[in-house]
Subunit: 156 residues, 2 copies
């Protein structure tokens, strides 16, 4: 199970596996692209990065956060570009993509839809038995992967 | 020269070549994707469509409209996905991508930055010697290609 937290500069990813009743963190990281590079080149780097993760970890499914923006349309547009190439990479690998709203991710990890980011990060590490977490973007990606495994286990 | 007008359902494209002092419309079309398909599949279809156009027409550069949204962040996000995979296809083909604001495109084609869409469409057909234009999305894509050729000729 691969969770992705796309961004135009940092795209977090995290691989989580079911291990009996528990979940295990397999690997996580951040695809960083040069902020100063032209957008098309940055998108190519993100796409290449996600494809490399898919090739190395061969997940059976992909999950990504749903995005709701009330404001900041320009930020939404830029994020859409990064999210688009990440989704493309999943589709090209023949994988189904699930999306979850941020509140569902927080509830799945912490138990409350209004949890703080730091709480989420702490519990992701504990749940997955990972001592070192490679930054907040990767933690968010792992949280999405955990959510998918929980939701699909419950058959919700 | 390939102009692209990306959208989540219809992505217009148009190939324009310089022909001495004039410009000539080579081909134009619209990549249509099923509105009901999952987003990742739609993005794959758009990416595949743009790659096919690049492979068939081998343009030397790509131009695409700049997008400014004051409102409608959700629309901006969805458009960003489509625009992202179109830009990715250009980058994967090793092509440079130029972007132009809508007002510059209108001025390049009609002579006024406030021209109506119908005026743009009419003049695109006349300028390129194309009698039949395959819909408004393709016309917009041709207009962007015309803009790029004009701007690069003037060395602006």
């Amino acid at each position: 199970m691969l969770g992705i937290d796309p961004g135009s500069v940092r795209t977090g990813w995290g691989v989580v596996e079911r291990d009996g009743q528990r979940q295990r963190g397999i690997a996580a990281g951040v695809i960083r692209v040069k902020e100063t590079a032209p957008l098309a080149e940055r998108l190519e780097a993100i796409h290449r990065g996600v494809c490399a993760v898919l090739a190395e970890h061969k997940p059976d499914a992909v999950a990504i956060e749903e995005v709701f923006f009330a404001r900041f349309a320009q930020a939404a547009l830029v994020l859409g570009h990064a999210r688009g190439v990440a989704l493309l990479a999943a589709a090209q690998a023949g994988l189904s993509v699930s999306t979850y709203p941020p509140s569902v991710v927080k509830r799945a990890v912490v138990g409350s839809g209004r949890a703080e980011k730091t709480q989420v990060a702490l519990l992701v590490g504990t749940l997955l038995g990972m001592r070192e977490l490679p930054g907040v973007d990767a933690t968010d990606a792992l949280a999405i992967a955990i959510t998918h495994l929980n939701v699909s286990r419950l058959g919700v």
